[in-house]
Amino acid sequence: MSRLFRDGWHIVLGIETHAQINSTQKLFSSAPTSLLAHDSNTRFNAFDAAFPGTLPLLNPKCVLLALRASLALNCRIQNRSTFDRKHYFYPDLPVGYQITQHYAPIAKDGYLELPVSKKRVRIQQVQMEQDTAKSISEPRAHKSHIDLNRSGTGLLEIVTEPDLQSPEEASEYVRALQATLRAVGASDGNMESGSMRCDVNVSVNRSGDPFGTRCEIKNVNSFRYIVGAINFEVDRQIALISSGQAVEQETRGFDHYKWETFKLRSKEDAPDYRYMPDPNLGVLTISQSEITNIRDRLPPLPDAIRSRLLDRYESQGVSVNDVDILMGLDTTRLVPFDGEHSTQDMGAVDYFEQVVDNGRRSAKAVSNWMLNNLLGQLSAHSMEFSSTRVPPEQLGALVDLVTSNTITTASGKLLLRHLVAHPSSASVEQVARSLKLVEDQGDDLSAICQRVVEAMPKEVASFKSGNENVVNRLLGKVMKDTRGRADAHAAKTTLLSLLKSY
């Protein structure tokens, strides 16, 4: 329905996000966490399968990452938080309850500022909880298989206040949250692989009226679906109210084939989860000094990185667009586990800055070589940005060869294409030489020029009689003889001096 139709209506949105904690081990068991690629039922232990006598042990790495995320979301860390059991029977929950933080979550009352609209979205709370196993249905055989790989993986549940007002804002919030969680290593935030999932609460009301009845749309797992589901739901609710009907409070799903939401269950059918404090886990206490410690070591957040890059490089000719491309590259980068700092695979921003090397190289030149040429060559090989294919030292050396006029820009591109196709640990200069891209210096260029001058007496005579433009024909011959490798500027200078003294 048209935008016009919505005039006079307020849209109120809140988002509950579940993000898998990017830890090597699960939240309460020492079993390794899993990727989609892992064979089913190969990453679990007796605790994850709910064998009697097993007990939960809180993984401190998960707590660290939850704290980092909470601090990045400007939350108040709770000095004491607790764990509760949320009970329901389902085959993907072998123990019959999910351990979560219902009564006392680890952090409360934060906000996330959206990078473009600069809007502050209030965060109600952040809590840690267990992910479920996965049921894989085989509808034809009327069978379901249970894969325990995901069972017990740590999740962060991040709940906003109802502060969002449009599908676009909702989408911007989820993107900003994703970037923030990735920056602090808390989650890889990958919606496609299911490591980040969103539930969206939607209500509408006429301007001036109190909030309307809300519906929760469960598991909306892509930016497109978020926008689509909200648009459909807003229109549905407006249509109901406009025709004098009431919006029922209910839980809905989103059908991405029909592109519409559908009723899952009404408020009356809402299950009673029989929350109970977990008797094994006790109180998680976080001291002020621990909080300070983590805050001091918090990796820089996307917003801060963006302003820093602009501050530093915009005046040197790097555009806002370039900065956004650079940061965009980092949104698909592998997030290292357990909040470690990866030294092997650095992100695009780090790569860029390492090549620029504290102003030793021109930021504009580096961004040009990196974003226009390196990315192009990588994508020609169907590769995403990688800091290892052409390491920063190699790109730096290449830029140096070009800016020092040791090789031409054209040769530089050729050299880069070669480096991407045939990664090598040899020095870039050696590679350039082996490709005969580097002219033997000084005398050789003079010798070639000398030869050309001697071979073209008619042109020399023409020059002598005042036709200085004829030097270009000589230069053309030099370039032809060197197959374009000669530095045209240097060659021209040499030719001119030869002609004048001839």
């Binding site: 007796a46 064998f51 006598g53 072998p94 123990v95 019959g96 029989r274 109970m276 008797p279």
Partner: protein, 455 residues
């Protein structure tokens, strides 16, 4: 080979050889399955001891049934920490002992293996008590030197009293619960049975170590509490609430004699009052049932244990309905009752008035004990209101309820309590036990007073 599903995990284990040989006669039904012969002892502090282990403590070389149909053929993929520690010390586990299903009961009659017969005078067909009745009976009958039980609200102390053996429920958090089939985690403790306090102490000393696999296991440097003061006189509190009207005369008499014995050995006797004790029962049943309803949710027949396939006509759209077939056949009536009670007390409508209220009462009980232990070193009171009841004898009115007053408070407070046999009833000649209760971490003192009672 990596297991591809939990059932296969169990299947792989099942193809290990289980111990099934039986040479010793067990006419008391104390062991749920066969006993194994004692083999050449491995060296260690406990190499002279044979041990029975309660059916709800996990072992890899015997089934771990918790006396429930739900786990009738279940073999655990792991050994409980307490079993590992005993075996590492050279002790020999000879079999698994009968108990009430998942530890729920006080007569050891709620068991797929049938009731345990009290070996004191088997011809009288009396109860061994519960829930750790098999462990108590096995020790009393001399089938093993010592046994492990579990005590959630008296399940070690009551059968110890009925069978005439020593039964220790240590401070909560000292003995690892890793591998203990949970009933109510906040109350469950592993307990020890032996004929003497001295043997009990040997096991306790072996098992009293920090276990990083149990989140409630107390760290190595915090396992004991400081004594009340440095006075040399032992002050013994006698809680008046532990002498209810229902107490049989002969029990009162035996307890009085035991106290006189302690006094003769230099102890000072002090009457104390624990006002909240009368509320502790309802609190206990709410909390224990609530935790049970949660802990027993896992027996759905999916990953392991009894699986009853639904009939062809059944509605397969709701997993809960499918589980109901396995769960209905898996659990006995007492277990079912407690799951239902517990589920109700956790429901949104009841949570505040039942579960939270019970937690408040639990705190009052703890405070009462804390206050008492400012004045006295230990408390001494009867372990049971009577001697072992006959099997099949209907329980009269609130008798079992009153019984629990004597054992449940120490469980709620997480403090050490030990039943020591002191005499035999003048009426029927059956054993009578007296309980010593200390503040948290005073297990050594409790055992010391227990030894004074043995003299």
């Amino acid at each position: 080979m990596k297991p591809r599903c939990s059932r296969q995990l169990v299947h792989n284990i099942r193809h290990r050889t289980l111990n099934t040989a039986s040479i010793t006669k067990d006419p008391f039904n104390a062991f749920e399955d066969a006993l194994i012969p004692i083999q050449n002892a491995r060296p260690g502090a406990l190499s002279d001891l044979s041990i029975g282990v309660k059916a709800n403590i996990a072992t890899t070389s015997f089934k771990t049934t918790a006396s429930s149909n739900a786990l009738r053929d279940y073999v655990s993929p792991m050994n409980a920490t307490v079993v590992e520690l005993l075996e590492d010390a050279g002790a020999q586990v000879i079999g698994k002992t009968n108990c009430d299903e998942f530890g729920m009961g006080s007569l050891n009659t709620n068991s797929i293996h049938g009731p345990v017969v009290n070996p004191f005078r088997p011809e009288e067909q009396r109860s061994a008590g519960g829930s750790s009745g098999g462990s108590a009976a096995a020790v009393a009958a001399g089938l093993c030197d010592a046994a492990l039980g579990t005590d959630t609200g008296g399940s070690v102390r009551l059968p110890a009293s009925y069978c005439g053996v020593v039964g220790l429920k240590p401070s909560y958090g000292l003995l690892s619960r890793w591998g203990v089939v949970p009933y109510a985690d906040s109350l469950d403790t592993v307990g020890i049975f032996a004929k003497t306090v001295a043997t009990t102490r040997r096991l306790f000393d072996t098992l009293n170590v920090h276990d990083p696999r149990d989140p409630t296991s107390v760290s190595s440097d915090a396992r004991t509490s400081s004594p009340r003061n440095h006075s040399t006189t032992l002050r013994i509190g006698i809680p008046q609430e532990c002498f209810p009207r229902e107490l049989s005369n002969t029990v009162t008499e035996s307890t009085r004699n035991a106290l006189a014995n302690l006094k003769a050995q230099g102890a000072e006797l002090v009457p104390v009052s624990l006002k909240s004790l009368s509320f502790s029962l309802s609190a206990y049943y709410v909390l224990a049932s609530a935790e049970a309803s949660s802990n027993l949710a896992r027996y759905d027949g999916m990953q392991y244990g009894l699986k009853v396939s639904p009939p062809a006509s059944a509605d397969l759209s709701d997993p809960k309905a499918i589980y109901a077939y396995s769960r209905t056949q898996g659990f006995g009536s007492e277990v079912t009752r407690r799951i239902l009670l517990g589920a109700y007390s956790l429901s949104a409508e009841a949570f505040d008035n039942y579960f939270l209220q019970a937690q408040r009462v639990r705190q009052h009980v703890k405070n009462d004990f804390d206050n008492a232990f400012k004045e006295v070193d230990v408390l001494v009171h009867p372990s049971a209101i009577r001697t072992a009841p006959r099997l099949g004898e209907p329980q009269v009115g609130l008798e079992s309820y009153v019984q629990d007053v004597l054992t449940v408070p120490a469980s709620l407070a997480g403090i050490p309590a030990m039943s020591v046999p002191v005499s035999h009833s003048e009426e029927d000649g059956w054993p009578i036990g007296v309980s010593v209760v200390g503040k948290w971490g005073s297990d050594a003192l409790v055992m010391k007073v227990g030894e004074m009672l043995e003299r």
